[in-house]
């Protein structure tokens, strides 16, 4: 199995397409960093325009943690496309090249072959998330320094102490990895049904867009299905930045407002991953290779 995973990783990282995602993340975060470094104060003024009369903030609002949060809010919506670029190509790309039939004439069971490919896809997804973390968190910490994290929610304001933030990002990136693995498993599943990667990529993104719209629409008839849509739970990483308060309305350092909600979301995502991978194996084991 390990040999198969090694081979798949070797193939993934020898393809130029793989690096599009890394380049895109680097470029996008670079632009955000450049903009905020150049004109970050205006951005903060705009962000705080409605509350400056009631709150006085001391310290450096535009710090590395703040920029990282901004970056994640913007990018985690678009990263699925970058994941789909590779995941949706895993089987369809091989079918398109004609290499799938050669691979499957080798003495490897189809299940092992498929699992190795999925593992390699997950490894790629995790590496992309690690790169996102390096660029969005560590580089921003270097450029903008660190301070408390000030978050404006719709009904309230969250202020996290500097020493109570880093671990939250570690968990948030971990959760994001789970969410992106769900996207990868969906793209991987669709890649079984086509002989070029365009169809599965478009199908993956269409499902995500469709489900995201359903997840965000506040119409009662859709509320019953929302808990079952993986897109509803993909933004669960934000929950790590909601903190408990005591009776005096003071933040409890090291706490999370609703850990059960995070666990529930993680469970839904894991179930989706298991579902997509199992379905992929069942389909692939019976599939006639005609490419």
């Amino acid at each position: 199995m390990w040999t198969l995973i090694q081979i798949e990783l070797f193939k993934i990282f020898r393809r130029p397409r793989t690096y599009i995602a890394f380049a895109a993340i680097t470029g996008l975060i670079g632009i955000i960093q450049f903009g905020l470094k150049l004109d970050g104060d205006s951005y903060v003024d705009f962000m705080m325009r409605d509350i400056t009369s009631s709150i006085t903030v001391e310290g450096k609002i535009l710090n590395g943690y703040q920029v990282c949060y901004i970056v994640l809010q913007i990018l985690l919506v678009h990263v699925p496309l970058l994941i789909a670029l590779v995941a949706a190509d895993m089987i369809s790309g091989e079918a398109n090249m004609g290499t799938l039939r050669i691979m499957l004439t080798k003495p490897i069971s189809r299940t092992r072959f498929l699992l190795a490919k999925f593992m390699a896809t997950v490894a790629y997804t995790l590496l992309l998330l690690v790169w996102l973390a390096v660029m969005a968190l560590f580089v921003n910490m270097l450029i903008f320094g660190t301070d408390d994290l000030f978050l404006l929610k719709s009904q309230y304001v969250v202020l996290l102490k500097e020493n109570d933030i880093f671990w939250r990002y570690v968990w948030a990136f971990g959760f994001a990895a789970l969410a992106m693995t769900t996207v990868a498993s969906l793209g991987f599943f669709f890649s079984l049904f086509a002989e070029n990667s365009i169809g599965p990529i478009v199908a993956t993104m269409s499902v995500i867009i469709f489900f995201t719209i359903l997840s965000t629409l506040n119409i009662p008839v859709f509320n019953k299905v929302k808990p079952f849509l993986f897109t509803t739970h993909m933004i669960g990483w934000k929950e790590f930045f909601d903190i408990k308060v005591n009776e005096a309305n003071e933040a409890i350092v090291g706490s999370i407002q609703n850990p059960q909600k995070i666990m529930q979301s993680a469970l839904v995502l894991v179930l989706h991953i298991i579902g997509f991978v199992t379905a992929s194996i069942l389909v692939f084991r019976k599939k006639d290779i005609l490419s």
Binding site: L4, R14, P16, R101, T105, P107, L290
Partner: protein, 316 residues
């Protein structure tokens, strides 16, 4: 060895593949003995590739059984495929990898540990040593085909399956493949199954031949005995074929006339009778443009695959 003398290397029984409303292969049975170069012949769409893909477990049969090396393919897939090398239609490999990287990758997938020296030697055998480190996207079709063959052979398989291996090759490439098949069979004692829609390719290498049409077996047998070598078909081109045909229909040659193709007149006869036919044509005042004996197996092939007739299994 005794084992293989008793049992064929490949034994196919009642193989059928149904795609929705299309029956691609119907009740096909054949066997391949050790050391055979088994020619699998049929026109495009006859069901050759579907059968070969079933032999390689790429396609699941709707019915029937495939036994290779005496074992059921369905239950011993990996064990069997470890001893099989295949080139299926186009030689598709990873274009962004070098020839060496492709070969190494597929060798690992075949479950064998091979040294760099062995890989380089394999590339040398197919004439690609000087391009070992070049990416495959810079290769010609012939070079890709040779790499495909190196990949099929890298794990030293006992059975080699080549599906339309000369597709898209120039005459030199076709000759190279032919020589390679003969080398594999004669020098390395491998068993080879080779499919083609071109009789000329098969007849030069095959020891046994299976002809299929519309998914059904037409005939299976020894290549040399599939046709009577004393019989042949001559193709007549005259300056007025219609008039010549009328004269022949009223002559002693009427019983020898074959259905016309491409406007030529076809006469089936004993090779010794060709001279007599020529004399009679002159006597009948038929102005002959050309008289050409056709290869009888080719003619047979065309006749059986276009005539939709089915012949019982040929047995030696």
């Amino acid at each position: 060895m005794l084992y293989y003398l008793m049992q064929p290397i490949v034994s196919v029984t009642g193989l059928t593949k149904q795609f929705a409303n299309l029956t691609a292969v119907q009740d096909l049975s054949f066997s391949v003995q050790e050391g055979d170069v088994y020619g699998f012949l049929g026109q495009n769409g006859a069901g050759k590739s579907t059968t070969i893909r079933m032999l390689l477990s790429l396609i699941k049969p709707s019915q029937g059984q495939i036994r290779i090396f005496g074992k059921d393919l369905q239950t011993h897939r990996n064990e069997i495929l470890a001893q099989v090398g295949a080139v299926i239609e186009k030689p598709d490999v990873y274009k962004y990898l070098s020839a060496y990287e492709n070969l190494k990758l597929f060798a690992r997938l075949s479950g064998v540990k091979v040294t760099e020296t062995r890989l380089m030697d394999q590339l040398n055998q197919v004439g690609l040593l000087h391009r070992a480190k070049d990416t495959v996207k810079t290769f010609s079709q012939g070079m890709k085909q040779r790499l495909g063959i190196a990949i099929a052979l890298v794990h030293d398989p006992k059975l080699i399956i080549l599906d339309e291996p000369t597709n898209g090759l120039d005459p030199q490439g076709i000759a190279d493949i032919r020589n390679l098949i003969l080398h594999l069979s004669r020098d390395l004692k491998k068993t080879v199954i080779v499919s083609s829609h071109l009789l000329s390719e098969i007849e030069q290498v095959a020891t046994r031949v299976l002809i299929i049409d519309k998914g059904k077996k037409i005939i299976e047998g020894n290549a040399l005995e599939l046709f009577d070598p004393s019989q042949t078909i001559v193709e007549l081109q005259t300056f007025d074929n219609a008039a010549a045909l009328t004269k022949l229909q009223h002559s002693q040659w009427q019983k020898n006339l074959q259905p016309q193709r491409d406007a030529a007149i076809l006469v089936k006869l004993d090779r010794k009778e060709i001279a007599q036919l020529h004399r009679d044509l002159v006597a009948m005042d038929i102005a002959l443009e050309s008289l050409q004996p056709r290869h009888s197996l080719e003619d047979y092939f065309l006749q059986v695959t276009s005539g939709n007739q089915h012949v019982d299994t040929y047995t030696n």
